[in-house]
């Protein structure tokens, strides 16, 4: 199916398997969004495998092969340090985020992992301000089954929005 992304290698894949898997991934993404928007941010690292990476990267760097990220987490420790910053160390104005994650696509199913992509948009509400678009982009993720849960082994969030409206405290 030429219109599918070129990286897909699912020729052996039974269609219904992909649909079922997507359902489970959608649940993962929904819980993930909930964690960032309304949940306890300290659970954010739980969405990741023990050996994991998380990168939030501007589209221009990604497209040009430049390695610099907006947030670079090379291990679960980094994720926990980010949580600590959100909770304890960073100074920032009160805000509410709302993540809209749509178009989850399974792009690869392998024996020990799956790959998936999705679009995201984040809306931000600040005190005495109306709600505004904060960021948009897409995820390119590798997911594994670990400790009875689907977890992100590699999470790559590429933000279209090159100009970030002031600061980005809470991960995407």
């Amino acid at each position: 199916m030429s219109r599918h992304s070129a990286t897909k290698t699912d020729t052996a894949l039974d269609r219904m398997d992909r649909l079922e898997l997507r359902l489970q991934l959608e649940e993962l993404y929904a819980e993930y969004a909930h964690c960032l928007d309304d949940g306890a941010i300290e659970h954010w690292p739980d969405f990741f495998a023990d050996a994991c990476s998380y990168m939030l990267i501007p589209r221009e760097n990604y497209d040009e092969g430049l390695p610099l990220a907006t947030i670079r987490c090379e291990s679960k420790g980094y994720l926990k340090d980010r949580v600590a910053a959100v909770q304890d160390t960073a100074l920032y104005a009160p805000l509410t985020l709302r993540h809209l994650i749509t178009g989850v696509r399974v792009t690869e199913i392998a024996a020990d992992h799956v790959k998936a992509e999705a679009n995201f948009a984040v809306l931000r509400t600040q005190v005495d301000e109306i709600t505004k678009v904060f960021l948009a982009g897409r995820y390119i993720d590798t997911i594994v089954f670990e400790d009875g849960q689907l977890r992100f082994k590699e999470k790559l969030a590429i933000h279209d929005s090159l100009l970030i409206p002031n600061s980005l405290v809470i991960p995407v």
Partner: protein, 414 residues
């Protein structure tokens, strides 16, 4: 978001007290903003426009800004660097819309006036008309319609440009002591671009300079800097200004994460905080001496950052009185090995829109603008470390900010 009360134009007079009082109308007044663009950014200043590593080969170009004025930086066929306005000489089109790229020439999309890589007009379609009809008048001379070209100065991979015809050479403009710090970071090795970050910060652009020229806040605001001893009042530190006061450098050496008699006044120090993954901060010594931090600000639009091993330029692009864009260009050196690059990239977590340190700064700048906007006739107080603009060997001072405004007043005739 308070609306600025900028009605009473008559009172735009600097407080008699001088540079340790900053009138708040300079952050919100639209006329002051326009004057800044005209007198400062179009005036006798060397403005940062980019790095030569961004225009590595003949034909390379990048969009840039001087103040909020769009320009293009190119490398021409002879390897020369050129900066010209991103505004067609015909009817004003911002012809270069691509962030970066390579080109043999610039063709304005509207009527395809064509400029070479130096900004010279080299072609006007139908200039002689068609079938003997129309075309440009006889008096029309391509040479009268080149893109406005700026003076260009380059040093060790950093490119500056100026709208002014008359101004001192870059080195003289920087001054001896600033040149030293400049050359420390840009030591002649080729640079390697690691990537970009961009923010739109809802505050006046001068608050960015105040922030970086203000070592006083670093020991108080930034948990990360204080706790991990990256930049702290009780580390060996210094503040240096050039003779005019417009440039400055904040210099410091990394200390330890330990409580001392001095951390008592640093309310946000966290003696027991530990990183879960210490790789984030693991430093590598790469510069001579003990200094691990140099934050250098060069009038009127650039910050050069060394914080341990994370190196960047921070380019300030004003967007009206109440906002500016901050363009971060992270770099290393061509001779960095993979591990060194990785270390720089990791430490970049401190900086930028999501940086453990920089978040604090950009948020507090928003708070400042929000606090200031409703009080155009009030004044900020700049008395830490006295009233002067002297160099000192500590960071409990606002002298570099006073220096900035000393020169600002001259430049703006305020």
């Amino acid at each position: 978001m308070a609306e600025a009360h900028t009605g009473k134009r008559a009172e735009r007079r600097w407080p008699d007290a001088g540079i340790h009082r900053i009138p708040y109308w300079i952050y919100t007044d639209a006329e002051i903003y326009a004057r800044e663009q005209a007198r400062i950014f179009k005036g006798p200043s060397w403005n940062y426009v980019g790095l030569t590593a961004e225009v590595p080969v003949p034909g390379s170009f990048r969009r840039s800004f001087i103040g909020d004025i769009p320009v293009v930086l190119t490398r021409d066929g002879d390897g020369g660097l050129n900066v010209f306005v991103n505004k067609c000489a015909h009817r004003g089109v911002q012809f270069c819309q691509k962030q970066r790229g390579t080109a043999n020439e610039f063709i304005c999309p509207y009527h395809q006036w064509t400029y070479d890589l130096t900004g010279k007009l080299i072609g006007v379609p139908f200039r002689r008309g068609l079938k003997r009809q129309g075309g440009m008048p006889a008096a029309f001379d391509l040479d009268d319609h080149h893109l406005q070209r700026l003076r260009v100065a380059e040093r060790n991979g950093v490119v500056f440009a100026s709208f002014a015809d008359e101004l001192p050479p870059l080195e003289e403009y920087l001054g001896e002591s600033m040149l030293e710090y400049f050359d420390r970071l840009f030591d002649g090795r080729k640079l390697k671009i690691l990537g970009y970050q961009r923010q739109r910060i809802p505050s006046n652009w001068k608050l960015m300079f105040e922030n970086i020229k203000d070592p006083y806040h670093a020991s108080l605001l930034h948990v990360f800097l204080i706790t991990f001893g990256l930049f702290r009042a009780d580390n060996p530190s210094a503040v240096r200004l050039d003779e005019t006061g417009r440039h400055s450098a904040l210099i410091s050496a990394k200390g330890e994460q330990k409580a001392t008699s001095d951390t008592a006044e640093m309310g946000r120090f966290k003696a027991d905080m530990k990183l879960n993954d210490a790789k984030l901060l693991t430093p590598v010594k790469e510069f001579p001496g003990n200094t691990t931090v140099v934050m250098q600000t060069i009038w009127p639009n650039i910050i050069f950052q060394q914080q341990t091993n994370t190196l960047a330029t921070r380019h300030i692009v004003p967007r009206g009185p109440g906002a500016f864009d901050l363009h971060w260009t992270y770099f290393g050196y061509q001779d960095d090995d993979e591990e060194m690059t990785r270390i720089r990239l990791r430490q970049a977590n401190l900086m930028g829109p999501a940086g453990y340190v920089s978040i604090d700064d950009s948020e507090v700048m928003e708070f400042s603008q929000d606090g200031i906007a409703a009080f155009p006739d009030n004044e900020g107080v700049l008395e830490m470390g006295g009233y002067d603009t002297d160099d000192v060997d500590h960071i409990v001072t606002e002298s570099a900010i006073r220096g900035f405004y000393k020169y600002y007043r001259e430049a703006m005739d305020l």
